[in-house]
Each structure stands twice: as C-alpha cells, then as structure tokens.
C-alpha cells in the first residue's frame, strides 16, 4: 500500500495515537505511509509522550496549539504525495476485521467511488442527507447496495479516498467543530460519490482528551448560517 498515506490528526491522545500507529503496521503486510499532525500542547505531544511510535511514522508535523481538526486535515492533504489517503480519528484502531488492504482494493475496483468508509465499531453505517432549506436531516440509509457497499451521502470518520478529490472539497477551517456534516453536505452538492463497506470495521475506543470541550454551539450556529438552515437533525 505504498500509494496510500494513513493520515492522523491528533490532539492530547498520545497513547491512542501510538496504539493506532502500531495497529496499522501490525495488520498491513505492506503498510501505507503514515503522516501525523499534532496540534496539542507541548506536554501532551505525541512525539514527546510516545517517541517509539512516532519513530514508526513517515512524518510527524507539530503545529501551533489547537489549529483544529479541519486545518489539521487540510495540512495533511497538502503534505501527502500519494494518490490515496486513509483518514481516521486518533482513537481508532486497525484490527483483523478492518481488512485494510482489501478496503483499499475495493475502492480501486469501484470506478464510481471517490471515497470508501468502514464501520467504526458497530456504528457509522451509511447515511443519507436531505435538506428542505430549513432542516438538514441525516438519517440511516443508502441509495444503492452492491457487494456489501452502501452508496450514500454521509459516512463516518474512517475512510480511504482519493487525495485529489478531497483537495477539491477540503475541510472548512473556520469550523473547529460541526465540520463533519458541513464537509459531507458540500461533498454531496459537489457530486462526490461515497459508500460504506459494512463488512470492514475499525475498532473505536473513545477517550476524551484532557481539556477537551465537547459542546461549542458557536460553531454549530456558524455552520448552519453558512448553509442558510436552522437546524440539523440526526436519526
């Protein structure tokens, strides 16, 4: 998988990030390149806290504190040199059930797909998005099923995709949160074709990092204003 870069944006979860890096190498006979962007505080840096795992990566970029997930992912997009990228959260792990090489092969084989996601534990199956100009609804479903892949509008945070296609969409750096649905709504409008291979699974052991603030309504408001909608409903 030397034409793939595994991209990890991490903050304040050095142990999780180290476990992810080791899991990639353990379960990929021909491992992808691994790039990490770390925007944590110096005392919680991945390179400082898990130097052995950092050594295993092709590149670790340390940035200013808290540039955010969007800016971090865009930075990763700008630095990779491979045609394909894998993105996951830093608390995901590759397992035998991920069958990562096969997931990448499935993207290669499906000429209509730009992005192929796996399940995150038993969550993040295919979802559809629909807006009536007031409410954006995100609900389970796929518009087409084929060989275990549900083609849909919205997938979770662990996927393989073409670098250049993601370059065309990019993440909105003004949104430090609520960037996920914003990304996939813009991707849907742009005509990006994505799907979920429901028989591929990344393990997800969620850890809230220190100083992590979960609810930040200002970003929700900004994202909704941008698209002229009043609310986002998940089902």
């Amino acid at each position: 998988m030397r034409d793939v870069t595994f991209c990890i944006k991490t903050i304040h979860r050095p142990e999780s990030c180290a476990a992810l890096v080791r899991s990639i190498l353990k379960h990929c006979p021909e491992p992808p390149k691994i790039h990490v962007v770390d925007d944590g505080k110096p005392e919680h840096r991945f390179k400082t806290r898990s130097p052995d795992a950092a050594e295993l990566c092709d590149r670790v970029i340390e940035t200013d504190y808290d540039i955010g997930l969007s800016a971090g992912r865009n930075l990763l997009l700008d630095t990779v040199k491979t045609p394909k990228v894998i993105f996951t959260d830093d608390d995901h792990e590759v397992t035998p059930e991920t069958r990562l090489p096969l997931l990448v092969m499935k993207l290669d084989r499906s000429h209509d797909l730009d992005m192929l996601a796996a399940m995150s534990g038993d969550r993040e199956g295919p979802r559809m998005m629909r807006s009536n100009g007031h409410t954006l609804r995100i609900f389970p479903g796929a518009y087409h099923w084929d060989e275990g892949i549900g083609r849909c509008h919205y997938v979770g945070n662990c996927f393989v995709a073409y670098t250049d296609i993601l370059q065309g969409i990019r993440w909105d750096e003004s949104l430090k949160m609520e960037e996920h649905w914003d990304f996939f709504w813009r991707a849907k409008v742009a005509g990006l074709c994505c799907g979920v291979a429901t028989d591929h699974v990344f393990a997800h052991n969620h850890v809230d990092p220190p100083e992590y603030v979960r609810h930040r309504p200002e970003y929700a408001r900004a994202a909704m204003d941008k698209h002229g909608i009043k609310r986002v409903k998940y089902r």
Binding site: Q167, G168, D172, A190, G191, K226
Partner: protein
C-alpha cells in the same frame, strides 16, 4: 463610484437580436445612465443593430464584427477592449436585469476587497463552482463548491458569465481565448483562478434572470452544437477528460 461614470455593460451576442434588445431595455430600466457596448458577430440579416436600430442607438457602441461567428471569446475581447471606464460588467445575451442585480452594492463590495471577478447568480444557476484537477492532471473536475465564505460572498474558482471586473484585469492578463468559440466558460475561469491567481467570488444574494432564448434552430443552434471546442479547451491544458457537475465524463 457611480454606475454612469465608472462601469460599462458589455454584451456579446450572436443571432439572438430579440434577446439582446430585451437585455438592453432591462439595463436601461434599472440602471440610470448605463453605458452599454454590444459586440455582435451574427449573420448580417440577424444582427441586433439591423433588427432593433432604436435600442442600438441607445448603446454607447455596437461593434458589428465583420467575420460572422468570430466566437464568444473574440467577441467579448472586442467589447472589453472598447471599454473606457475602469470597471465593466459582462452579460450573456439571454440575461435580463431586474432589481435583484444590486449594482451599487456590488461596486461597493468590489472596491476595497481582494476580488478580481465578482459574479452574480443567474436565476437558480451560477452557483459558486470549483475547478479541481484530478487523476494526476489528466482530468478536470468541475463541481459546485467554494474556498471560503463570508456572509453572502463565496470565493471560488468559477462563477457565472454575469460578472463585474476591472477592464484592465481582462485586457492585460486574462483575455478570452479567441480560438475557443464556445465552451469557453470553464477555460476562462480555469486560467483566471488556477493559473493566474485571480480572486473569483460569487455574490450569492445578487442575481440576473437567465431567460434562455432558444434562438432559431437553423440560424442559432448550429453555432452551439460544436463540442470540438470543448476538446480544444481541454487539450490546451493537457486534460484528457472533464468530470462535469452531474458526474458525466466528457473525453477530449
């Protein structure tokens, strides 16, 4: 800045004199003292100044290009070359101006910003678009999207053909390609945004009406049905194909 003093309205038309006259009237109805330049490369009997001499007389200049079908690119270049004001606003001949085109607001936003080309919506169309080279530069992906948003302003790679710009921006550095007679739109914006680094923006709250004039089947339509010019634009930039907004692939 004032509309009468600082901006010229440019129209390139071919074989749709009725549409052109409707646009000219709508400009006069909504924009006091507007200067208009029309460039017309239609067949002699179907020229705007032949069919609507009274409306033509109200324009600052009607350029009747000797060569019939000189093309959209060359025609627009001729119109913009004739502009004497700092700014110009470009139209297609099937646009119609209504109060939704807020020129004072557009000019105010344009001045003191980094914007080089400020497009407006055309009806439901003219949304901000991006031009993303994919597949190692072999394919250009034309898709809806934007780089950055500030209220109603969306910075992107490509807007509609109804836009405000400095005449100099076009005449000095980003002219239309004379050899591309139609399908010139993406090629013009690709050079502007991706190659020449111009800042393209769409004012999503301003619009013109796009009332498509079918034109005569015998006289107008043959000028449109010429996909060889799409191939020409693609090959010029080394692309072998285009992925369109609805996912269709067009090979050069």
């Amino acid at each position: 800045m004032s509309i009468a003093r600082d901006v010229t309205f440019c129209i390139k038309t071919i074989a749709r004199p009725w549409g052109c006259a409707r646009l000219v009237r709508s400009i006069h109805a909504h924009l006091d003292g507007a200067k208009i330049i029309v460039a017309d490369d239609g067949p002699k009997a179907h020229r705007f100044s032949e069919k609507y001499p009274q409306d033509a007389a109200r324009c600052q200049e009607v350029i009747n290009i000797d060569t019939v079908d000189v093309g959209v690119g060359a025609g627009r270049n001729a119109a913009v070359d004739a502009v004497e004001t700092e700014l110009f606003f470009l139209f297609d001949d099937d646009h119609v101006v209504t109060e939704s085109l807020d020129m004072p607001l557009l000019m105010q936003r344009f001045q003191g910003s980094d914007i080089d080309i400020l497009s407006v919506r055309q009806g439901k169309g003219g949304k901000p678009h991006m031009l993303t080279p994919i597949m190692d530069g072999q394919r250009i992906w034309v898709h809806k999207g934007e780089r950055r948003r500030q209220g109603p302003l969306a910075w992107c790679d490509m807007g509609s053909n109804a836009f405000l710009a400095r005449a100099e921006t076009i005449t000095q550095g980003n002219r239309w390609d004379d050899s591309i007679k139609i399908f010139e739109h993406w090629e013009f914006f690709y050079r502007a945004s991706r190659l020449n680094g111009l800042k393209v923006c769409v004012a999503t709250d301003c619009s013109v009406k796009h009332r498509h004039v079918k034109g005569s089947k015998k006289i107008y339509q043959p000028f449109r049905d010429r996909s060889q010019f799409r191939s020409l634009g693609l090959k010029k930039h080394g692309f072998r194909s285009m992925r369109g907004t609805s996912g269709g692939i067009f090979h050069a």
